[in-house]
Symmetry: C3
Subunit: 468 residues, 3 copies
């Protein structure tokens, strides 16, 4: 029997708890729609066993190693590879023990809830994680991983995933997606078009990326029109392999609607590396409008994920590279930043934009009022640091009264930690049921409406919003 | 029997619910003080029947049509008039059906609670609103509207409104207020002096408005002194007809205390339309100080409503004009912006400023600390998008510990939807009783204090704060 | 018997209340660690009786007089001394009566809870405070104050304070700390090094302070190196008398890492009063990096308290001076501002920075993500206006999921109101137990973990974080 309490995350008030249980019964077994995330398609195309507990559950999870790092554990000791190839811990069991010995640090965090679900529901571990139980649990999981029912495709089926979207560079050949499609396996795994590598002039690889984009598509990407044609062609290619959405991870939400000559000049400067930070911001902002224009043509839903100061820790960045738990949210403005895009396409019903934020102060002030008005706009769920019980509750409390439920799009797990996908959806479903239970208990919605809403939030809205 | 639950908006915890019920019993029948809103005085001076359900409840309510618009319903289909006179839906029944068919969109919004109160308490509709019941309810309400007890004055009396303030341009003749006064009817309806049309140089009509102000008052409003005298004279006129307050809806909270020569020059530039946006900001900011100075003289309470980016949707603005649900809040600074005004008059006990915000992040950071110190400052209630159960609760939780209850002013309904006034006050009273019930249940205030506070918030504070 | 309810601040839900009671039983009698505050060491070195109820409880408490001032009570009537020596109320009984007559203003504020604890638990007053009981309570307290068990040292012992840190200028001789040390009394009272008077060029006394610093240390503080040596020497002196921490109260969180020639030039300009506001900001920001560097050497924990607009009310400042309840929080950026410091020392495990904020919007957006990553960073508790039940709950809800409990440092009372110290710690312990009780009741942490966490938050974390 799992040590997880069946009422976890439900309010303790008996009236609300009873309603929450009843709502959750309607959604707990619904298929998982995962329209935004960072799973590796290779797992499924090759269907190899996952290597070991540390490589599966610790080393790739920046929520985990950032917390240990914040408490003084060197990243090397956790097996995070150094860019200079310098020595790091190679023994997965030692990494696992180090993690287990710091398990108390995660009290009160969502990582704790996800990991417990993975341990007790997925691997059916019967003891609690601790320094003492570390070896036992390590062996138990390692043993599971050798079994066929813990291979990626088997887990995908067991997780009841109806569709899983990955996030991919326009330069990616999508070979694994192609291979998956050719394999005859029925799991639906689709790519998402994320053009950041070829639209952000501040990346050191921008020039080579754009030239590669040209080679891939046979377009002259040094010209503005060729560059746009190449992008549109790659979108077509992604769509062929099932993509229904694009994704844009910009430092800000700035959009620009510049004259064509200015666009040409910016691209030119960018390729010659003579572009200023302000001009790079303009270029990225212009590209959001270009992408919106293409979305109107090809029907891809447009996701915008702005506001992260990437690689804030210079030393960690130099030693370990990108995405090492050192991205920090910044204050962000949407009202002025998005106006050029809305002025151009804000009322075009063919376009659908899903907007995310890392600045909770914008929920009620900017995002909900905009989503409650503009036909093109829907709000993505509580994102990243806010993909947590308090974070999701705060999101609902600050967004719904102005935007309504139907201008939101349900849950995204947004994870590269594949085994945690059911855990994350379960937390989200429970938190939404708890929120709805309060509304019912306070006679703010009827129970039959709440039942419908619970299903909409867990299943219908993500499916519909992402045109799946 | 009304389908509305008598415990709506009360906490489900039995201890808190019992206290909330008991507090609510003290305030539910108190007269309504409506010191800030947008009712049309003509309704009461002419006392004609309201035309039809759509014209009464849908077409004028931007909370309603913004939500439908956000989900793809054209504003034309809702009967919103186009500026170019182009065709829009004219059949109120079809508009009502369209609204009813989208009723689920309002789940979890305050509009839902207000409308249900209007349907079930005011019109005593016995069935729930839906696509199926739309026609029945339409006919039922249409029938009510033909009856004398649904005429404006009868409703005013039935609503138990002790005083209702409208919001009026300084160019308004206040003919309806005069007519009301002459009619002998006892309902107290008073104007509020809102000088925006003659103090905002960025309005296209600024110059003609200022000249008209001059004609009305016999002053030379092209001169700074004449312009100020004209404004003071209009304030006097409003006061004669019962006004106790002014209102100022500026894009920011900026105040300026400029030398007289600079003021003269700014007015000059504004009238010649040679004023920059920065200078317009200075002019408006200067006018807040001028208005404060006049308030010290004539005793009018000064309301400031800053921080809305008006008419954010360019296409909607061009097709339909102002106030079409496309105003979006912006981030705002009060600490630096209000300093010139506070430096000048912040300690003058004759002055009373009621400040509002659309930026909830300022509640605890700026507004409560300022209101808990400056003798001239009180905080208006949760405004506009935050006039909702979660919005009002958040306001209390973030404001009261620093500002106390007595630096707030109770509730404003701020509505042009006259039939919803009792609904809005009822929601506010319930939410305040729920908040107080938690304080009592957690032994943070005594029950007898909570009783007093409930009455203060519902009745005493608005009456006193607005000098009614 | 005290009129205080034993369950105050606990949730009313019976499940949560029971857990909260049980957690609180573990922490209520733990010794008080007070690692940051503004007690006067003279009280303890001289151990004189406190003069009278008004001088003890009203006149020094800006939470109290700011509220009364906001409601129109002149500061003079509360006995606040004027800078010009003008007449102010001298009769402590009249001041006490004035305070008591306005007691209702504090409903819902933390001041109310603290004062009630002081009255009923410390002084064992049996009646509630009101205009009617004012004289009786005044006499009762005045009588207590004549007794030996109400002298400062007796109270210190009775309060079960294990360690109390004061906050002191680098120019302070620490004579009272020395005298305390020499006295043989066992109470542990330690200084904190707060260099603001000699690092902020915008203070009018900056130049004379820096010269005095030179005289005290025998260094030439007009030279950059001499100035730094003098500061380091004073830190050494503070450390000798027990200091374990520094504190920095800057207007912003800006840090700068400038070339040495620029530092020399800024110091030079500052001493000649030819420094611009931007340069002053640079100088202060540079000094944070210098202080961090010294902390790595001498081990002092570094506290940063940024974001207060000091003395916002010009008239009050001119009439009464600093710290008169007119400091207002401002919006603040940490992500860009702290980067130079983190670039330099963010990964140095010898350094420990405790960061505070007055801008709650930064809790989840900036502070928790940074503290959950940077090894040098911990978050101070909810500060100043947020040192309140709702403030502390909001802090936990917005911080813990990302930073975890162990990147926070427990409670600071931060007070100059010595008799209220147990009251403040009691409120914090209750609020933390209530928060933990919800986590337990919702099966988010286990009860045994919550027990450990309650003790960590109340005792272990402050002791460890401040290296006590």
């Amino acid at each position: 029997m799992s040590p997880l309490n069946q009422d976890r995350l439900f309010p303790s008030d008996p009236v609300q708890r009873e309603i929450a249980r009843s709502l959750y019964a309607e959604v707990r077994n619904l298929p998982i729609i995962s329209p935004h995330g960072h799973a590796d398609p290779k797992w499924f195309s090759e269907d190899e066993p996952f290597p070991d507990p540390a490589a599966l559950l610790v080393i790739p999870d920046h929520y985990i190693y950032r917390m240990l790092y914040s408490q003084g554990v060197p990243l090397e000791d956790l097996g995070i590879p150094r860019l200079d190839g310098g020595p790091v811990e190679r023994d997965p069991r030692r990494i696992w023990r180090l993690f287990a010995g710091h398990w108390h640090l995660f009290r009160g965090t969502p990582t704790r809830m996800w990991m417990e679900y993975v341990l007790h529901e997925l691997f059916e571990v019967q003891v609690k994680l601790s320094a003492e139980s570390a070896d036992h649990i390590y062996d138990w999981i390692a043993d599971c991983l050798t079994r066929p029912d813990f291979r990626p495709r088997a887990l995908f089926d067991r997780f009841n995933i109806e569709v899983l979207a990955t996030t991919d560079s326009p330069l990616d050949s999508l070979a694994h997606h192609q291979k998956l499609r050719d394999s005859g396996w029925k799991g639906r795994i689709i790519p998402t078009f994320r053009p950041d590598p070829v639209v952000d002039p501040e990346l050191p690889e921008f020039e080579s990326n754009v030239l590669r984009l040209g080679r891939i598509t046979g377009e002259n990407t040094a010209s503005w029109q060729g560059y746009l044609r190449a992008l549109f062609e790659r979108r077509r290619f992604f769509t062929e392999l099932g993509a229904t959405a694009t994704d844009h991870g910009h430092p800000s939400a700035a959009t620009f609607d510049l004259p064509r000559t200015r666009c040409e000049s910016l691209l030119n400067k960018a390729l010659l590396r003579r572009i200023t930070p302000e001009e790079s911001e303009q270029f990225r902002g212009q590209m959001l409008i270009e992408m919106a224009r293409m979305s109107i043509e090809d029907g891809l839903v447009m996701q915008i994920h702005p506001g992260s100061f990437r690689n804030h820790n210079a030393a960690v960045f130099h030693a370990f590279g990108r995405d090492k738990g050192a991205d920090i949210p910044t204050r962000i403005d949407y009202v002025h930043a998005m106006k050029p895009l809305f002025d151009r396409f804000g009322n075009d019903r063919r376009l659908s934009i899903i907007l995310f934020t890392l600045d909770e102060s914008t929920y009620s002030r900017e995002l909900a009022p905009m989503a409650g008005h503009y036909p093109v706009l829907k709000l993505g769920p509580a994102w990243w640091f806010y993909d947590s019980p308090e974070g999701m509750r705060f999101y609902r409390e600050r967004v719904i009264e102005t935007a309504g439920f139907y201008n939101t799009v349900g849950f995204n797990d947004d994870t590269r930690a594949f085994p945690s996908i059911p855990a994350r959806h379960d937390v989200a479903r429970r938190v939404d049921c708890a929120f709805l239970a309060r509304l019912v208990a306070e006679h703010r919605v009827e129970e039959d409406e709440a039942r419908e809403l619970a299903v909409d939030l867990a299943y219908t809205l993500p499916k519909k919003s992402y045109r799946l």
